[in-house]
């Protein structure tokens, strides 16, 4: 474990990525203190004002300050991005490693369940969910997480299928290591790399899915902001108010890029071969 942190700390790019992620989270947490304006209060006379000293990122169609909305929106979007991807990853890891490690019936059952989830028209699942639950940020995160774990599960399973036949795993069996220990110490660290890629790609997808969910009444409801819904509301005004879709897009990009750098660093630090050579 020690070696992991040392390796990570040596990776300057990863550090940079981590710092940006931390800054974004901090900005989101401090939104009430940082936001110059009330993010929800319409001010029709200021509608679609270009970026200026008063409104550094301009205003939206109802004259609300985009910077303030971006800051408050970061709370929703970052939470949804990280937590729902976290849920998807955990579910995917567990089911994928179960299927890949045990094979046979377990594998068949899990993978057919994956098939069902992939084929299933999730719109109707969401409608059904909606009938029971009131929309909140928790339901949003749960819904996105629980409908997007299939790719991770498949990737993990595929890795496990190969890895469990490798010499070091077979040796571990031979010396009587417990199943859990084999999975945790020997297979998982080697299987984690594609999962990190999937997570990186999953974050912006989740952030955008959130705004897509609002069409069902499941996303954050107006007047609350998220990066996704600021972006969507800018669609109509794109020709005269570029700032409405540009800044949220930029925010999502920065999040993904910095998370990607961090992810790469983690992967390299996890890889024992790389650690030995010490980049």
């Amino acid at each position: 474990m020690h070696a992991f942190w040392r390796s990570l700390a040596r990776n300057r790019l990863a550090i940079a990525g981590g710092v940006v992620v931390v800054c974004l989270v901090a900005a989101a947490l401090l939104a009430p203190a940082l936001a110059p304006w009330d993010p929800h209060r319409p001010s029709i006379k200021q509608a679609l004002a270009a970026p200026s000293a008063a409104h550094p990122l301009g205003t939206d169609q109802l004259g609300r300050d985009v910077l303030s909305r971006m800051l408050y929106g970061a709370r929703v979007s970052l939470a949804v991005g990280f937590v729902s991807v976290g849920i998807a990853t955990i579910v995917g890891l567990i089911l994928g490693s179960l299927a890949g490690y045990h094979g046979g019936t377990v594998d068949a059952v899990v993978m057919r369940f994956v098939d069902l989830m992939l084929v299933f028209p999730s719109f109707f699942l969401l409608l059904a969910v909606l009938a029971f639950l009131r929309p909140s940020i928790w339901t949003i995160m749960a819904v996105i997480g629980l409908t997007s774990w299939m790719r991770v599960a498949r990737l993990v399973r595929a890795e496990f299928l190969t890895l469990k036949e490798r010499e070091f795993v077979i040796w571990s069996h031979a010396i009587g290591a417990s199943t859990l220990r084999i999975i945790w110490r020997h297979i998982l660290p080697n299987a984690i790399a594609p999962v990190l890629v999937a997570m990186t790609l999953g974050i912006p997808a989740a952030i955008l899915t959130e705004s897509g969910l609002s069409f069902l009444g499941l996303g954050v409801q107006p007047p609350h902001a998220s990066w996704g819904n600021i972006l969507n509301e800018g669609k109509d005004a794109i020709e005269i108010a570029w700032w409405l879709s540009f800044y949220p897009g930029l925010a999502i990009l920065v999040t993904v890029l910095s998370y990607n750098l961090l992810g790469e660093g983690i992967r390299d630090a996890l890889d024992p071969r790389l650690r030995q050579r010490g980049r």
């Binding site: 929800h40 107006p222 005269i240």
Partner: protein, 542 residues
């Protein structure tokens, strides 16, 4: 189609009615035949037999293919189309049409009185899935008196009798077997090659992409000038706008933002003529009157006072709308301009609320009565940016008054089915599309509060009921005016809903097209008379 529940798309609800503004006017040029008009549609038509459809693209396209016996002119007067003339008996129970002698179907067969009878039979056939049956069920019988004369006997006076014959007349020789089997929807003519009597005939169609019509040279009122009409289906308003700029389409509709902020430069104004007329529907804030808080009229009036309609129209429509004081469009014959209005007045609103018992405020600044804070959920349907903005502005306005509002936006089908029909709402933002006739029995009558009915808000007022009943069965127009004017006075006083605004319809047509005379009926009513002067023809086509 007196009233239409307005779904997601704003443009889908407009009916092109009422007063217009003409920016610039072309100098008269010589009329010429030829050229193609390319028009953008936001959605594909759902079929080609309008009698069993209810979407506005189908009506627009169908309107060029078929004729009614009557139609509306520029000033919304009923004029003859397939009917040359008509007469009512003094008790309003007998209506006799004399038909045009020279009308033919697109396949060359002559149009006769029997086709009118067939259309009636279609509309009342138990297996015709139409929502337009009501107007024909009050008919006792239809008699073909001669090849050019139809006599219709009503079982009771019906104010909309004449207007109801504006629906498309269908050809018996083509569609009869399908009607008989209850399979009109599956008739090939509902998809391709419809047979009508109208100024344009069907040429071709590519699903989801385009519909092409060509001029019917044998049209009974003389061939239309423009030889081809191509409808391009472009389901994205920003794309339509870019296509307009690139001259990929000649006509379409703008949204308020585009009209107000994106089209005011010389090149656009030279290439296109923008029109603006009151649209066919209004947006309202409706209350569930079963909720004791909203059952109190003073609360509703207070909310009406708290909403600044000017701000609303500016914020949502960039000023391109008209203040609604009731359910009728300003400038139409049924509209009563002298009703109670609710100017933006927070002091008055507070006074009304405290009369109703909402006096104290809690720590969060919300009004409290019997220990409960005044908060409610405001629902509207997804896909309508306008209504979302209305909800947000209303929310901010009511917060100033000490009323907390939570907004909830729900996908249309589940919204209607699960919340509106089951009355599981506290307040809603929705719209009504209104036709040219003022009969709104279905919306306000106290008998229409069942789950499948349209009086969603559960409004009940005996005098309103009375006026609605008299208004729809009155035989003399002057008498109807009296009833509907009184109706509006009561509705304004009662505020069962807060009437917000009528949005403007904003069509735009290439300036090479001449002959457009905007009026209370919008611009499309005289489409066959539109023309492009020979020197300005852009497309050559037969």
């Amino acid at each position: 189609m007196a009233v239409l529940l307005c779904a997601a798309v704003v443009a889908g609800c407009s009916n092109d009615l009422d007063g217009a503004e003409v920016p610039g006017g072309g100098a008269p040029a010589k009329r010429a035949y030829g050229d193609t008009l390319i028009e953008a549609l936001l959605a594909d038509v759902s079929g080609l037999i309008p009698n069993i459809l209810s979407d506005s693209p189908s009506y627009e396209v169908g309107g060029l293919i078929y004729n009614g016996l009557v139609g509306f002119d520029r000033d919304l007067n009923l004029v003859g189309e397939l009917a040359e003339s008509w007469s009512f008996s003094t008790d309003c129970l007998d209506l006799t049409f004399t038909l045009r002698p020279n009308a033919t179907w697109h396949d060359g067969r002559p149009f006769t009185a029997d086709d009118v009878l067939f259309t009636y039979e279609t509309m009342v056939h138990p297996k015709t899935p139409t929502s337009n049956r009501e107007s024909f069920k009050v008919i006792e019988r239809v008699d073909v008196v001669g090849p050019r004369t139809v006599h219709i006997r009503y079982s009771k006076p019906y104010a909309k009798a004449l207007q109801s014959w504006g629906l498309s007349v269908l050809p018996r020789h083509v569609l009869e077997p399908y009607v008989r089997d209850g399979k009109l929807r599956e008739a090939p003519q509902n998809w391709k090659d419809p047979v009508g009597t109208g100024p344009y005939r069907f040429a071709e169609r590519r699903a989801g992409e385009k519909i092409v019509l060509v001029a019917n040279r044998a049209y009974f009122a003389g061939p239309p000038y423009i030889s081809r009409v191509v409808y391009r289906i472009i389901p994205s308003q920003p794309t339509i706008f870019l296509e307009l700029k690139a001259k990929g389409v000649d006509a379409g509709r703008l949204n308020a933002l585009q009209y107000a902020r994106q089209t005011n430069y010389p090149a656009f104004e030279k290439a296109y003529r923008k029109y603006r007329h009151a649209g066919g529907g209004y947006t309202y804030l409706g209350f569930n009157l079963k909720d004791p808080r909203f059952a109190d009229r003073r609360v509703r009036q207070a909310i009406a006072h708290a909403i600044d309609k000017r701000e609303l129209i500016d914020g949502v429509l960039f000023g391109l709308g008209r203040d609604a004081t009731g359910p009728y469009k300003p400038g139409t014959w049924a509209h009563n301009p002298n009703v109670k209005t609710y100017p933006h007045d927070l002091a008055r609103a507070r006074a009304l609320l405290s009369e109703a018992g909402w006096k104290e405020k809690n720590a969060e600044g919300l009004l409290v009565k019997d220990g409960k804070p005044f908060t409610f959920e405001l629902m509207t349907n997804q896909g309508n940016e306008e209504r979302r903005k209305v909800a947000e502005i209303v929310q901010a306005s009511l917060r100033d008054l000490g009323i907390g509002v939570e907004i909830r936006i729900i996908e249309w089908a589940s919204f209607i089915k699960e919340y509106v029909k089951k009355r599981r709402f506290e307040a809603i933002v929705l719209g009504w599309g209104i036709g040219p006739d003022p009969d709104q029995y279905e919306i306000w009558h106290s008998s229409k509060t069942g789950p499948d009915d349209l009086n969603h808000i559960s409004y009940a007022n005996p005098e309103v009921d009375d006026r609605l009943e008299k208004g729809r069965s009155a035989c003399v127009p002057a008498e109807r005016v009296k009833h509907y004017h009184r109706l509006q006075e009561i509705l304004a006083e009662d505020q069962p809903v807060v009437f917000l605004y009528f949005g403007d319809a904003l069509p735009v047509v290439s300036s090479r097209v001449h002959g457009i005379v905007p009026g209370p009926n919008g611009i499309r009513y005289n489409f066959p008379e539109w023309y492009v002067p020979a020197a300005l023809h852009r497309y050559t086509s037969g």
